[in-house]
Subunit: 252 residues, 2 copies
């Protein structure tokens, strides 16, 4: 009961290897999808025997579910923070938009896994994941609705359906990252370059400021204030991170 600093107690080690497996799984699944992912590759890059995946997780799907869950939990929690009542309803919306952008920017695996899941949802069911998502997103959506309706009530926000507001907020962000690799083919610059990212980040909030608020000028001012208040998070090298995804070490 004393050991904590350097000890390698049994279930401490076990815990570490489980985490190693999960990390590797998130990587693999987010780049190759459920059916494209290879259990050998996951075991390989976690430097662990393949049988361990089945020891800790029922099967490939179980591992997948665990990976999705891990990522989702990490994300939703931090998203809720921006809905603090100390901000005005309009500001809460703008803040959550920025938070959403930054979350995608810094946690690419989340975005990638979500994309995959959204595609998978179309055809039949996806195991236990629906349950997981309902639990995770319901509170987030509720906050969004509350903020929109508050804003309309006190005259800050234009009279409009809260759901449509939500789509406009999330849509542009998701689409930017979703389409960037493809857009790169038809654009004269790299959408993942730091300059382009910064520009898009600002444009997204300013666009909302211009569209949502009854007083357009006030909306723009608020957008700029929020931008000053929430600086863009540092990300080493988005482009490189993405390209490295498929450059993993082959297990013997």
């Amino acid at each position: 009961m004393i050991s904590k600093t350097k000890t390698r107690t049994r279930d401490d080690r076990a815990d570490r290897t489980q985490k190693k497996i999960l990390r590797a799984a998130v990587q693999e699944f987010s780049t190759h999808g459920l059916s494209g992912a290879r259990t050998d590759r996951i075991a390989g890059s976690a430097k662990v025997n393949k049988a361990l995946l089945y020891y800790y997780f029922k099967n490939k799907q179980g591992l997948y579910a665990a990976a999705v869950e891990a990522v989702a939990a990490r994300v939703v929690e931090n998203a809720l923070a921006e809905f603090d009542r100390k901000y005005s309803a309009g500001e809460r919306l703008l803040r959550s938009a920025l938070n959403h952008f930054d979350r995608i920017l810094t946690q690419r695996e989340f975005q990638s896994l979500m994309q995959q899941e959204m595609v998978r949802f179309r055809s039949g069911k996806s195991g236990s994941i629906p349950v997981l998502f309902r639990a995770a997103f319901t509170p987030l959506i509720a906050k969004m609705r509350e903020a929109t309706e508050d804003g309309i009530r006190n005259g800050e926000i234009c009279q409009m359906d809260w759901l449509q507001v939500m789509y406009s907020i999330f849509g542009a962000n998701v689409f930017y990252f979703l389409s960037a690799p493809m857009m790169e083919l038809a654009l004269p610059f790299r959408p993942f370059g730091p300059k382009a990212l910064k520009l898009r980040r600002e444009a997204a909030v300013q666009f909302l400021g211009a569209a949502l608020f009854t007083d357009r000028a006030a909306g723009m001012r608020l957008a700029n204030r929020v931008l000053r208040d929430m600086p863009m998070p540092r990300v080493k090298n988005v482009q490189a991170r993405i390209e490295n995804f498929h450059a993993r070490r082959r297990p013997l």
Copy 2:
């Protein structure tokens, strides 16, 4: 050279089977993705021997590329029509937004394939498809840019980056369809129901009207006019179509 009406000239037949294969391939790839798709299933639902796939298309990837190309070509062509110079710049933008929505609505396979490709693009290259996309989308993007810059020049549209306009237009649409199956879990209604679709379609254009135009009221009026001008296309039963996707006949 005479036969056209009922004749089954040799390469007429061949042409038909090729098309049958392509249709089946589009279905399969759009529901299961490249690695999830099964060549046996494609052959089966095209009622054709599997070897034919390899006779007409080099391999699975080749078939995939052909499927993507077929869908993309069909789509881009019809998208360009809305950029007719007889409309004002602002109207061209609103029209293309609506056209984009309707295109996704009526040709789900396109949306699905594009999603898959966007995910695939992230990790390494995707064969010959980049070339294909550059060719298809460059003119479309150019039109979009032209319309935005025209509108800014004549004062119709707010001073803003054309690229950001494009993201806002496409983003909300793509995200709506992308997220609908998942949103269904956390919403009190079905986003693919006809009522929800109609609502979203209107909201999307109205939102743009409110955000893009220097004269917001005029923008809203224009949005409503365009909506009257382009009625929502009839779609039998979106929900059913989607659910049927995975209920394909197993070949013996």
